[in-house]
Symmetry: C2
């Protein structure tokens, strides 16, 4: 039975948990080992995800890593350490779900304050993604050319390609992540084993949507999301993760593409 | 004679100086006051720009501000102070050229190191732009709705919309800036006096291009720029700034648009 390794940041809740469940469901013919990453304050959630995995797939191994991805020096040390004793060559495929992120500041640009907090937020949503993908690709490169099959998946958003009133910090962070993943695709265009994907999961019915409905400064943007909720149009996180898992399983998507939940059948 | 205020970051050299010259040339029927911003280490260049302005337009006032835009707390304090005694209501138009930036790291993603330096670089190229535009729009908002006519111009790049091998940090930073300026346009869509513009000036024959030719890790990307230089296809900085000045003078562009030098006649 082939083995797959899945790394999942933001693995303690929401879409991260849905990814874990749907990847397990789709790649039933493989054993999937996991390395899950989340903030120290969400350690309980991470442990629940681990138990969920082991209950569905007793042969899997699961490592939980508590890491604050807004602290750049910490990322480098802890992420490297998490991969230190991992032999990627034993896996038929490695999936890296770069899924963490925060909603940032739901204020109009002129009303932004706390710029030191915004800087930390950009470190969490943008800088950390550069660091993580760089270290991951460096690890892969130690095995020599074309030895490891890997896909890096960015949890993207419609906000990466479309501006929203009161969401500037979030939108620009998502745009930066999308472009980074396009650059990954470009740098590996002659290596078909390394692919990247920007997947926009749609407006999901998670805690994040609750924050959006309660805190978005702009009334029309806020009402848009309240209406989505009230009319039952929010996307189920597992339905979205299931479509993502299908994409990865079929593996026919173009590397570097931005694919939205609503683009898929 | 009407007065215009122009704020220019990265005002000590290269495209910043070309902007100053071409704005002066295009808006000849107005007196233009300037506030120029650049790193402390380029103070000499800033002083030269000031003298250039005063030699061409003796009625202009010019303030030079030395500011390190990679240090977030410094930006807030110094930029606010630079605007403290400025009465925007005396100007028929305010132009804010957000023109500073660095080339970042011309390495493949897997070869990136010095993540603390990359973090600082993202602060310079992305975080600072959020801080500056926020403070600028906040200052405008103190005059009440629709009182000030202002355009914010981001010095963008083809890299904001197209990935380049070995340029990931630069590309993702430019993508983030473009999206921020799209969000500005969106937040002011009901106020025709506030506009934003993402202007990609083309590959200009400046010091930055020299760095590109010498330091880009990927051979084919490097050769592309060497060939541009050798075949005389690099763009003259003043020719590019002149097209930008025309755009601003005619003022018919769509707010938030990404407009490339090569798109223009």
């Amino acid at each position: 039975m082939s083995r797959i390794l899945s790394l999942v940041t933001g693995g303690s809740r929401g879409f991260g948990v849905a990814i874990v469940e749907e990847v397990l469901a789709k790649f039933q013919n493989s054993t999937i080992d996991f390395i899950l990453y989340a903030r120290p304050s969400t350690q309980g959630g991470l442990e629940k995800t681990k138990q969920l995995i082991l209950s569905k797939s007793p042969k899997s191994t699961v490592s939980n890593i508590c890491i604050d991805l807004s602290i750049v020096p910490e990322i480098e040390a802890k992420f490297m350490k998490s991969l230190e004793n991992v032999d990627l060559s034993q896996y038929s495929k490695v999936l890296f779900f770069v899924n963490h992120g925060s909603l940032s500041y739901l204020e109009k640009i002129k009303d932004l304050k706390n710029f030191n907090e915004i800087q930390k937020d950009i470190d969490l949503n943008v800088t950390s993604v550069t660091v993580l993908t760089s270290l991951f690709l460096r690890k892969i490169s130690t095995y020599g050319e074309n030895q490891i099959e890997a896909t890096l998946i960015n949890t993207s958003s419609l906000c990466a390609i479309k501006p929203f009133d009161s969401w500037s910090v979030y939108c620009s962070g998502k745009a930066a992540r999308d472009m980074l993943f396009q650059c990954i695709a470009d740098e590996y265009k002659s290596n078909s084993k390394i692919k990247s994907l920007n997947y926009a999961p749609g407006p999901m019915d998670t805690d994040m949507q609750k924050q959006i409905r309660e805190h978005t400064a702009d009334e029309s943007t806020r009402n848009y999301f309240i209406e989505l909720k009230n009319s039952g149009k929010l996307v189920n996180a597992n339905a979205s993760a299931s479509k993502l898992s299908n994409l990865l399983y079929e593996n026919t998507f173009t590397s570097g593409a931005h694919i939205d939940y609503f683009d898929l059948k």
